[in-house]
Structures are given as structure tokens and as C-alpha cells.
């Protein structure tokens, strides 16, 4: 069985709790002493660091969300001076200003350890040729996996997110054994394979480590069958550290979350109430060891549940269920996160369009399609076809510029979407 760090991945639950309490208390002391934001929220609630006497006392501390991070940009929540920061990454910034995250030397090293755990858990070793098809750059996916694979001693092909045809060519030439990519990229590869009539057995590929967007068992089976690999899920987010927060082992029964680095809670997204084991709710994470950009009770917007049962693989650290949903209405199209609020803004920029629209998402041959049906304002069109075409093109091009995706736009009668209560409705047929 593959376990990268037996010392920490198989700790007894009781030991984990003492360990987490110590880390949490030290973190809170550090944040309270050094960062005005935390001092302020503690003072507002009339609590002192010493009031956190057990892990469950964490509920006395308010949550943080993306808005808090945005308000304190760029360095307001950094716990170290800039001279100790050795790397920056950022969130994608699809909903507004991207959020800068920083790493100290120890942070980078810990991150590599976490990703090494992720890779090793599915059987990646120094004998593997690892093709990293995540984007390199500000996105944490590329470099995050790069450093982890390097720690394991695997042979890395830092190919980044180039087109599937080129990926496939490299994959054949270098005899890649492990693919690290979005599920969408894996689907694209499967399509290209079929299109170019290449037999999947010509490839040396054996493992796919996929992530950065939600995908289900159906897609997993499809990818495993088409590429003749074992496909595994992993979870991470840039605000917290990047990839490596939670990972599947070879049993594929949930994602192991490294509890020596992160404290996880599940809450009711409406009330903020902390929920118990196996209850579904929003994942809230606290970074226990991060030095440069630590976060206390960060709301991830991802919906999952926690299990503390020991896994067949021997790991004792908790598992989260595979992520299916989010608390916000983000839609992921071929790996690109689309926010309805942004679409809403684009629609409202056109005077001739109405208040309501419907977003329809479907999948054909493994590729996601998005169609947006928009109400027209009554009386604003003289029913001239050229006007319809013009406005459709404007919307399409704005969406293309914002998200770099192709969409289908349909203009509908002014009252035909009046059954929708909110401004928009999402119909996901995938």
C-alpha cells in the first residue's frame, strides 16, 4: 500500500486532536498578535486567543469568505513580511479581482509534501513519467503538482495546458505513465484518440490524477475506459494552498484530508451551524501550518460531508466525500468557471433585453455546451432579423472575451421566462 508519510497519515484520532489543538492555538496567537484584521474580529466578538481551549471552541470565531480576502488585498492578511515570501499565486478571479496568495519557504516545502502524498496515494513513484497538463503560472495547479512530483522523484514533463493533439503526441513520444489534468482535458484526449484512430493500448498511460473541477463517477468510468487508465480525484483550492488539500487513495472511497495541515468543518451554509460526521454541508477549512497566508475558518463554497472511519488503505485521517455541488451557482464548462452574476451583468448591458435568462448546460461527446436563453424586452425590437442577429453576436463575443468559451444565444419572447423566480435559472443536463 502506498502511504507517503505514515507518521502523519496514520496518526491515531486522539493524537490528531492534540496535534491540531496545539497548531490551532499557536496559529491564533500568531494571527492575533500580528494581523490587525484578526485582532479586530476577536475584539468585536469579545474573545481572546485563550478562549479557544478545545477544537470545538473554534466556532466562537467568525467565518472568512472570499469577500474578506478581497477587502484585505493584496497583503492585509499576510502573516509574514514580504521579504519572507518566496512565491505568489492567485485565484482565477472570475468573479472579480483575483486574490493574491503568498508562500514562505516552509509553505512551499509543505505544499510539495502534500502533493507528494496525493501522488503517492494512487501509486505514483519515481519510476513514473508524469505529464502535467495543468496550466503553469499564477494558477496553483501546474507548479503545485510539479513540486510534489519532483519530491517523489518522478520524471516530469511540464507540458502545461497546450492542445490535446500536442499533449497526445508528447504522451506517445515520452511514454507518459501518469497524466495530471482537468477531467475535461482527459475527455478531450479521449476524443482526439478516437478521431485520430489511435489504439489506446499504444499509450503507456496507467494513471490519471484529475481535478480542479467537479466530475462524477460516470465521467470517471468513461475516461478510464477510453484511455485505459485508473482515474483518481483530488481536491485543493488556491486560497488554502492549491492542490494537495485532499486526495483519493486506490480504494476511491472518499478523499483523504491531511489533518496535520488543515482543520476541516462542515457547516450549514444558511445558518453557519457546525454539522456532525456524515452530514452534508459546506466545507470550512483552517490552515494549521501555513506561515505566509494562513486562513481561519475559510468558507470554501464546496458541499461535501466528513467521515472519520478508518479507510481500507490504513489511513486514519478523515475523508471528505467527492465534491458534487457548490453553495454558489458557479457552472463549470470544460474546466472554465462561469459565474451567472457575470452573465447577468453582460445581459443587463443590453437595453433591448429583458430581466430573465436561463442557462442550459449539456454534454455532447464528452464536451460541455452552454446555451443561454434571454428574454427580450417587449416592444424594443421591430422584429427585424438583423437586430436579433446583431444582439446575439454582441452577447456571444462578450462571453468569449470574458471566459474564452463559445456559447449559443437564443432570444425568447418577453414573458416566456416569467416562471423563473430569480433573475436566472440554471438547467444542467450533464
Amino acid at each position: 500500500m502506498f502511504i507517503w508519510d505514515t507518521r502523519y497519515e496514520t496518526m491515531a484520532q486522539e493524537e490528531i486532536q492534540q496535534f491540531q489543538l496545539e497548531k490551532l492555538q499557536a496559529l491564533i496567537n500568531r494571527l492575533y498578535l500580528n494581523i490587525p484584521y484578526y485582532k479586530k474580529i476577536f475584539t468585536e466578538r469579545n474573545i481572546k486567543p485563550q478562549d479557544i481551549k478545545s477544537l470545538s471552541d473554534i466556532k466562537k470565531i467568525p467565518f472568512m469568505d472570499k469577500d474578506v480576502l478581497r477587502l484585505n488585498q493584496p497583503y492585509g492578511l499576510f502573516a509574514l513580511p514580504l521579504r519572507e515570501i518566496i512565491r505568489f499565486h492567485s485565484t482565477s478571479g472570475t468573479t472579480g479581482k483575483p486574490i493574491a496568495v503568498g508562500y514562505s519557504k516552509n509553505d512551499i516545502n509543505h505544499w510539495a509534501e502534500l502533493v507528494a502524498r496525493t501522488l503517492n496515494a494512487v501509486g505514483v513513484t519515481n519510476n513514473d513519467v508524469v505529464q502535467i497538463a495543468f496550466e503553469y503560472g499564477m494558477f496553483t495547479g501546474g507548479l503545485g503538482f510539479h513540486y510534489g512530483a519532483e519530491k517523489i522523484g518522478a520524471s516530469i514533463i511540464p507540458v502545461s495546458n497546450i492542445n490535446p493533439e500536442h499533449q497526445l503526441e508528447i504522451m506517445k513520444n515520452y511514454r507518459t505513465t501518469v497524466l495530471i489534468a482537468t477531467p475535461t482535458m482527459a475527455l478531450n484526449l479521449a476524443n482526439v484518440l478516437e478521431k485520430l484512430n489511435i489504439n489506446k493500448n499504444e499509450l503507456s498511460l496507467r494513471i490519471g490524477l484529475l481535478g480542479a473541477e467537479p466530475w462524477n463517477e460516470e465521467i470517471r468510468n468513461f475516461i478510464e475506459e477510453k484511455l485505459n487508465i485508473k482515474a483518481y480525484d483530488s481536491y485543493g483550492l488556491s486560497e488554502i494552498i492549491g492542490p494537495g488539500v485532499a486526495f483519493e487513495c486506490q480504494y476511491k472511497e472518499g478523499l483523504h484530508l491531511s489533518e496535520d495541515y488543515f482543520y476541516a468543518e462542515i457547516i450549514n451554509p444558511e445558518t453557519g451551524e457546525v454539522l456532525g460526521e456524515k452530514e452534508e454541508g459546506e466545507l470550512v477549512l483552517t490552515t494549521l501550518t501555513k506561515e505566509a497566508f494562513p486562513l481561519l475558518r475559510y468558507r470554501t463554497r464546496d458541499i461535501t460531508s466528513i467521515s472519520k472511519e478508518k479507510c481500507k488503505c490504513g489511513r486514519t485521517i478523515l475523508r471528505i466525500e467527492r465534491l458534487k455541488k457548490r453553495t454558489d451557482d458557479v457552472i463549470i464548462i470544460n474546466g472554465v468557471k462561469i459565474y451567472p452574476e457575470v452573465l447577468s451583468k453582460i445581459v443587463s448591458e443590453e437595453d433591448s433585453l429583458g430581466d430573465k435568462f436561463e442557462i442550459k448546460v449539456s454534454r455532447e461527446e464528452g464536451l460541455d455546451k452552454i446555451e443561454i436563453d434571454v428574454e427580450i424586452k417587449s416592444g424594443s425590437f421591430a422584429n427585424v432579423l438583423s437586430d436579433f442577429i446583431k444582439i446575439t453576436e454582441v452577447l456571444k463575443s462578450k462571453i468569449r472575451v470574458t471566459y474564452n468559451i463559445e456559447s449559443t444565444i437564443k432570444l425568447v419572447e418577453s414573458t416566456s421566462l416569467s416562471h423563473i423566480k430569480k433573475r436566472y435559472k440554471i438547467t444542467d443536463l450533464r
Binding site: 496545539e22 499557536a26 498578535l33 516552509n106
Partner: protein, 244 residues
């Protein structure tokens, strides 16, 4: 094996340790780092029951020891080598060592107590066994102090500034002996040490205490590469770090 939760220690009205949690595993050396007055000595004294003005939880192998007296705590297997050694200079080396075996005398006879394992660890003390402890060099006196604590056959040894006033080479010898205690006898060690860099090199983990709070905890190698800690506590390369 030792688990502390939310320990607060007071000296009169002054709170020297404010809600500290820490633990030590079997066969482990940990270091407490902090400037003078941060609360390190108070913490050690509270563990061995020398200060009872305390609050919180101290659990040793499943037993809550917070209400126990010092002699009961020593009996359970925790011994302190105090700051400044505190040996009896007008007594012989062997008598000093014998005093350390005091808790065992309820069950064993004085004549059956053997100093052999101490003399194996510190051969020099065997030669000086009949001499007054006050005539020994600083390093040898420290050996007597450690030997005395070991006579109680502890499972955890607490050392408060063992290197104070010793020459660098002697300090290294002392640390090597401590490392061997861990490796060969399986004794866990909590070190409070001014020479934090050296202590971290011999320990697996460390805790950083500031004004009674723990502000950082981690693997020794991580603490050694944390420039803020290097700057504040580790002294060396001070110029190199601050001038960057």
C-alpha cells in the same frame, strides 16, 4: 505520552504561562524556544509539580497529574534537571547521585542501588565518585545533575538550560549524551535551551513561546529555516538575515 492542554501558570498575580498546549511522544526530544521571561522555566516547574498555582490539564500516560505532588510525579517517571544544576557541592558525587534515587528507596535498599548505568554514561564520574561535587568542572557538575535525575529512572527528562556556563565542546558532549539517552534508553526529553540552534538540531520538534503564549510549533527543521525565528532566537547569522 505527556499531553498538556490549556496550561496556565501563575507566580502570585502574574500569569507566566497562558493557556499552553503541548505534547511529547515516546522516544522524542522537543525544544522550547523563547526569550527570557517567556515562561519556559515556569512551564517545566508546573509539569513536575513545583508550582501548584496552575490551571489546565496535564496528562501523563493516561493519568491526570495536575493535582499530584512533586514526589508522586517523579515516581511516575518525570524528572527535572533544574537551571543552574542545583547540585549539593559539599556532598560527594555518589551521594548526590544517591539522592536522585530517593523515590526508589521505598521499595529498594540503599545497598542495592547501583550507579553503574550512570557511570557507563559518564565514565568520568566513576573516577570522581568520592570527590565533593563542588570540586568538579562545570561540565562534570552538569553530568552529576543529569545523572541524579536519571537515578529516578524517568521516562521523561526535563532539562532547563543544560548548557549554561559551559564551553562549546562540553555542550556538544552533553547533547550527544542526551541524544543517546533517547536512542538507547528510550527516554523522552523536553529541552529548554538558550543555544536553541543546537537544541533544535538534536530535537525532532520545537515550540516557540512568547510572553506565555505558544506562537509557533513545528518540526525542528522547519523552525530552523524560519527566518523570523532565526532572527529572534537563534542569533547566528543575525547580520546575514537582517541585512537582506
Amino acid at each position: 505520552m505527556l499531553k498538556i492542554k490549556n496550561l496556565s501558570v501563575k507566580h502570585g498575580q502574574i500569569e507566566a504561562v497562558k493557556g499552553v498546549s503541548l505534547h511529547i511522544n515516546p522516544k522524542e526530544i522537543i525544544t522550547l524556544i523563547g526569550s527570557n521571561g517567556a515562561g519556559k522555566t515556569s512551564l517545566l516547574e508546573a509539569i513536575v509539580g513545583l508550582n501548584k498555582n496552575i490551571d489546565g490539564e496535564i496528562n501523563f500516560n493516561g493519568t491526570d497529574i495536575i493535582k499530584l505532588n512533586s514526589d508522586q510525579i517523579v515516581n511516575l517517571g518525570i524528572s527535572l534537571v533544574p537551571e543552574g544544576r542545583q547540585i549539593f557541592s559539599k556532598m560527594t558525587v555518589s551521594d548526590n547521585l544517591l539522592l536522585g534515587a530517593y523515590p526508589r528507596l521505598k521499595k529498594e535498599k540503599v545497598s542495592s542501588i547501583s550507579f553503574d548505568f550512570i557511570y557507563t554514561l559518564f565514565p568520568i564520574l566513576k573516577e570522581k565518585t568520592k570527590l565533593l561535587a563542588g570540586t568538579l568542572s562545570g561540565g562534570q557538575q552538569q553530568m552529576v545533575a543529569i545523572g541524579r535525575a536519571l537515578m529516578a529512572k524517568p521516562k521523561i527528562l526535563l532539562l532547563d538550560e543544560p548548557s549554561t556556563g559551559l564551553a562549546p565542546l562540553v555542550i556538544k558532549d552533553i547533547f550527544k549524551i542526551l541524544f543517546n539517552l533517547k536512542e538507547q534508553l528510550g527516554i523522552s526529553i523536553i529541552l529548554v535551551e538558550q543555544n536553541a540552534r543546537l537544541a533544535l538540531e538534536y530535537s525532532t520538534r520545537g515550540y516557540v513561546i512568547e510572553t506565555g503564549f505558544i506562537v509557533s510549533e513545528g518540526d525542528s527543521k522547519d523552525l530552523l529555516s524560519d527566518n523570523n525565528i532565526v532572527r529572534a532566537y537563534l542569533g547566528k547569522n543575525y547580520k546575514e538575515v537582517t541585512d537582506k
